[in-house]
């Protein structure tokens, strides 16, 4: 069974068999449903040529990072998380996890606090 996927906008057509031969190993492999789904998505989205080129690109030029360096990925994930948290360093450059809680060490007296609260808030 062959099915043809077309992207008329970019003049790309791709006819898929059920199985294909891996050009590197010579093995015969079934086309995965995931692959079909992606091809369908991209032909509908008029980006079929980009999918094909992306796939070829990563096939012909595998990234060196891909040898399972999970520690590195974990680090990156942590940095991403910190960035998403909107972490703000303090004005004086110190990171804020010291005893920054307002507490009895504040030099403000209660009268001043109450005064400000009364004047500005409610």
């Amino acid at each position: 069974m062959f099915r043809t996927y077309t992207d008329y906008v970019n003049k790309t057509a791709l006819t898929l068999p059920d199985k294909f031969i891996d050009v590197r190993t010579g093995e015969s492999i079934e086309v995965l449903p995931k692959v079909l789904e992606q091809i369908e998505y991209h032909s509908n989205n008029s980006t079929l040529i980009h999918l094909v080129l992306t796939a070829l690109n990563s096939y012909l030029q595998p990234k060196s990072i891909n040898n399972g360096n999970s520690i590195l990925l974990e680090e990156i994930r942590e940095i991403k998380r910190m960035m998403q948290m909107g972490y703000l360093p303090r004005g004086n450059g110190q990171m804020g996890n010291g005893p920054t809680q307002i507490n009895e060490t504040s030099n403000l007296d209660l009268i001043e606090v109450e005064d400000v609260l009364e004047a500005f808030g409610g």
């Binding site: 998505y41 972490y87 303090r90 004005g91 996890n97 009895e104 403000l108 500005f120």
Partner: protein, 394 residues
Amino acid sequence: MEKQNFLAVDIGNSWYKALASDNGILSEYQLPNAIALFDEEFYEKPYDDDDIVLEENLIVEVKSPAVIDKREIFYIGKGAARQRDVSLTAFNNQKADEDRTYLLLFGMAAYHALLQSPEESEIHYSIDQLAVSLPTTQYKERKSRLKDKLAGTHTVIFHKVPGVQEPKELVVKLEIKDIIVGAEGACAYLGLTRDQETLEVKNEELVKESIKGIIIGDLGGDSVDFVGIKNNRPVASVEGESFGINQFLDNIIQRVSKKEMFRFDSRAELEEKLAAGQSEWYVEPFAGVRKDISKYIIPQLKSMAIKYLEHFDRVRSSTTEIKGAVRYIAVGGAAKLARKQIQEAAVRWNERGRPIELMFPQDMEKLNVQGLMILAKMNQLKKVQGNHVISTKG
């Protein structure tokens, strides 16, 4: 002292600005004041969850006594701004009465909570002190109503959360323990004069000047608020005029749409362009076609600047309490965007013999929210020190 969470939210007509402090760690957010109804039918499934930025895809359902439960789901913020049926603030937005206030405020707080504990699917987050602002016109009559509605427990359900397993939902239960409301403009003075950490006065000079009088003009989306400060406290607030940058933004959007075939998704999108500086003042209606839109922007900013100064002049001559004010301070995001035009217009006032020399402080668009954070911390301090008489911890 045990863990404390503070949240300060400046509910502006164009942007919601928030500062959160969790045990001393600060986070900062800003969200366009935009909501849009979510419709499952039109939801475009993302190709890959990694492509989705959560901040731009906030889809919330709010269960709270503050909003009538219609089981409706909304886009809020950036995601909403891109929808076709986006609702931006209407003129004369009554913040304490409108559902959008609570959808956006709770949504934003819950988003912050979610970033604090990214691994969990049900989050309980309590806010010891929440500080919010109202325009001076709404402050006196509406603040208790706003407080009542904000207090208590609210549930926010996030839908279609990227990176979460089907049904891609996260639940955040917000508990708001105490609330303080501040007036826009007046809070900016606190932000200007007091330190975020110690809460002590950091700008002695300005406090000294306040003995003679200071007038702050806070220019926002739909309102301009004037506050007179004397002896370090607000003495006169001039009823917020319904005048702000939004009407000028709408004019620009209309003209660009008509003449250049380019439609901005929202005011927020245009405002970001304005904030980026004149080198970014172009649109691309078609790929590769760059159209300069500064000719639509500059006249609008100019006429806003002129009106802003007119308001300023009227206020300073009409308030008896601070007749001899020695300093005029411009604050607010809109004043920052039009700073150059305002300064140019001020030259003309000078020529006419009625000089208005405005001061443009640093971070002028964030002063209100910074002042609110100070209020939140002080309110907590008062509470703790009040209790301290009973408990004898040293």
